[in-house]
């Protein structure tokens, strides 16, 4: 009986009412359980707010504050120490230093220059707005995280399903391949391939949809993380393919592709949803790491990785370590953003896993 028929029957007049049977799909049961999980709900709401803050919010904030994430404000840093201004400071709204009046003194801004607000202060000796860069950088980091996850899922599920369903030689080859990739330090390989590719793919932006380098990093991270979903898909296929309902489907003459698509794939979906959530967190962490180590997103594009990287020994930040220009905010702000986002994604994944577990309490 299809769901359409069920719906129709439920809408029959009450005169010949049958005892009403409430059909709950696994997804609906999962949602009911998920709503009771306060931590997971909070994580979900946080992530929705984050996406709102990053996608429409970054543009709005930029318009409201009157400057962009890549604008330079030389007066947002200490004149001699290059110490970036702290949170909530009003900065002279000019992109140039005034002409020097003497050899020893750097002139202040021209009298009458209006001020502009830096909510979280400046990000480093260049004097960008840290708050705006955090929002725009979150966009790049999340894009990489989600994109890499989608690529890894597509690749991994295809290979895993093929291996689990066909078995034999295909299974052997895929299993050896996953073992090989798992045995290697992913980060070192990502670094080497990332540097080896150089600018090869980084100019490709899907006609302006993404920033420079985002697509390349998505592909790279996806290419090195596909084996987790592959292993899950393979083991699920192995445990399902000899079950009665598959036999029944075969008996009524269903083809292999139909069985996989119609009868087996829906079983995979819950674990893929759970796993996908956690993989976004993983890919985001990898973006930060690879970018920090110099093989990912390149400056001036803001990302959480470049923001972290700017605070450490880069050529742009030679004096960060002297005591009179100690300024922790450029490190703390992206750190907190990364921590909260990854934590929320992981908690959401845990919550989804418990909610969608068929053996769980209803």
């Amino acid at each position: 009986m299809s769901t359409g028929e069920l719906e129709a029957r439920r809408r029959l007049p009450a005169a010949h009412a049958e005892p009403t049977v409430v059909i709950s799909s696994p997804w609906r049961i999962g949602w009911r359980r998920f709503r009771r999980d306060r931590v997971a709900m909070a994580s979900g709401i946080f992530l929705i707010l984050l996406v709102l803050a990053i996608f429409p919010g970054a543009k709005l904030a930029s318009v409201a504050l009157g400057h962009g994430p890549d604008d330079l404000y030389p007066y947002a840093v200490g004149t001699y120490t290059l110490r970036p201004d702290g949170p909530w400071s009003w900065v002279p709204d000019t992109h140039q230093l005034s002409p020097q009046t003497s050899d020893t003194q750097i002139a202040g801004p021209v009298k009458g220059t209006p001020n502009t607000l830096f909510v979280l202060g400046a990000d480093g000796p260049l004097g960008h707005d840290l708050f705006l860069r955090l929002l725009y950088g979150g966009r790049v980091s999340l894009e990489v995280g989600v994109g890499a996850t989608i690529i890894a899922l597509l690749l991994g599920v295809t290979l895993g399903v093929l291996a689990g369903w066909l078995g034999g030689l295909v299974d052997g080859a895929v299993s050896r391949l996953t073992e090989l990739v798992m045995a290697l330090p992913i980060l070192l390989l990502l670094l080497m391939v990332g540097t080896g590719l150089g600018d090869g793919l980084s100019r490709f932006t899907f006609w302006g949809v993404f920033n420079d380098g985002v697509v390349q990093l998505m592909l790279l991270i996806g290419a090195f993380t596909w084996y987790y979903p592959a292993r899950i898909a393979r083991s699920q296929m192995l445990s399902l393919r000899n079950r009665e309902f598959v036999e029944a489907a075969r008996m009524v003459g269903a083809r292999g592709t139909t069985i996989v698509r119609r009868h087996l794939f829906p079983h995979l979906l819950p674990s893929l949803v759970v796993y996908g959530t956690i993989m976004v967190a993983t890919a985001l962490m990898l973006e930060v790491g690879v970018t920090f180590l110099g093989a990912g997103i390149q400056l001036p594009t803001a990302s959480w990785g470049t923001l972290l990287g700017q605070t450490w020994g880069s050529a742009l930040n030679p004096t960060v370590n002297s005591p009179d220009n100690f300024q922790p905010w450029p490190t703390i702000a992206p750190s907190v953003a990364i921590l909260l986002t990854v934590l929320a994604l992981n908690q959401l994944g845990e919550g989804l896993r418990e909610a969608l577990d068929p053996a769980g309490v209803r």
């Binding site: 798992m182 330090p185 980060l187 070192l188 670094l191 080497m192 790491g289 920090f292 100690f326 992981n346």
Partner: protein, 361 residues
């Protein structure tokens, strides 16, 4: 043949296959990239075709590719990884001069990474065993819940964030510890100090001072995972009949936990660390980058950046790391068979700490 022998044989074979695959991949990377190998020996711009042919003959690059691969593996078996493109103290080698042997450089870098990982692992167990035991001795208590929550925060924290914040406050602001760099454990002669910054402050104290923050970062990354794993494992052990026997004989809770449960809990977890070596290498890359320590990770970054690609060095590091990982994994599996001959699968198969958390490095 008994099942354990089949398992051992299969593990040995698959390790050898993995090692061969590793050498094949690195060899291909090595042989494909420079389009004109003769340029290593002579200046191509002024060379006659005969010179190039002679150079290729000397290098062995005129042979078929499988012969070259065979010679590559043969040299590897003798510990010869070639020479670096870069000379020891900056600058690239000219065709007439050669760099330092890669094998020595890789071993030196490996020692630095090893010092970080080994000290970090000791600190890790000093912290995670008490934490895991505390959580396991009172399951579902507030202490256990707090430790579960903290673990979630732990696995969600990027090692870079921990490293940068610790460096920022402990070293830059309060000057409790050195900011970056590495010191040799064994003091060197004064003449060496001129060339190597790591020799200038050598000695056990300087060595340990520079390693304190890296050890903390390393252990913090794994503490979350390991304290939960120790908790889970200990709860399993506490369910065993022999624990009930001990309790029936009147052993105190403390004695049950420390004398009876602890040994059976910790041994499998220690072997798990050897399995996490791939992740550990990744963590060490972050640590070395932040603290500028001349380990495998930082050397990799240096061999790629700036002046150009130092291919022999990269190949050497990849081969060395991959081999260490594969051999350690093999040893762990063999050890598991030696302890429990009924085992027929890798102990990794049954490993579920957080169940999900994939590798981030």
């Amino acid at each position: 043949m008994p099942p354990w022998a089949v398992f051992v044989l299969r593990r040995l074979l698959s390790s050898i296959v993995l090692l061969l695959l590793l050498t094949l991949i690195t060899f291909l990377a090595f042989s494909r990239i420079p389009s004109q190998p003769a340029s290593f020996l002579i200046d191509i711009r002024y060379a006659t075709p005969a010179d190039i042919a002679h150079a290729n003959h000397v290098l062995g690059t005129d042979r078929p590719i499988y012969v070259q691969y065979g010679r590559f593996v043969w040299r590897l078996l003798h510990g010869d990884l070639g020479r670096t493109f870069r000379q020891a103290r900056g600058g690239f080698t000219t065709p007439s001069s050669t760099g330092t042997p890669v094998a020595g450089e890789v071993l030196r870098a490996g020692a630095v990474t090893g010092a970080i990982a080994f000290g970090g692992a000791i600190l890790l167990f000093l912290v995670s065993i008490p934490l895991g035991m505390l959580a396991a001795s009172k399951p579902r208590s507030p202490v256990d819940r707090a430790s579960a929550g903290l673990s979630m925060v732990g696995i969600s924290t990027h090692p870079l964030v921990v490293a940068l914040l610790l460096q920022l406050f402990l070293a830059s602001k309060w000057h409790w510890l050195p900011q970056n760099g590495y010191c040799d454990f064994v003091p060197k002669t004064t003449s060496a100090q001129v060339y190597e910054p790591s020799a200038a402050c050598s000695g056990p104290v300087g060595w340990a001072e520079h390693l304190v923050i890296p050890w903390i970062v390393f252990s913090l990354f794994f503490v979350a995972l390991y304290s939960r794993m120790i908790r889970a494992r200990m709860l399993e052990v506490l369910d065993e009949p022999y624990i009930r026997t001990a309790r029936a004989k009147g052993a105190s809770q403390r004695r049950v936990l420390f004398r009876h449960a602890l040994p059976n809990t910790v041994l499998p977890v220690v072997t798990m660390l050897a399995m996490d070596i791939g992740t550990a290498v990744g963590i060490c890359v972050y640590i070395e980058a932040v603290f500028r320590m001349p380990g495998l990770g930082f050397t990799t970054i240096q061999s790629m950046g700036g002046a150009g690609l130092d291919l022999p060095m990269l190949v050497g590091i990849t081969l060395f790391t991959g081999t260490v990982i594969i051999v350690l994994n093999l040893l762990v599996d063999l050890l598991a068979v030696a302890v429990d001959p009924t085992i027929s699968r890798s102990p990794r198969a049954g490993r579920r700490a957080f169940g999900l958390a994939p590798r981030t490095t």
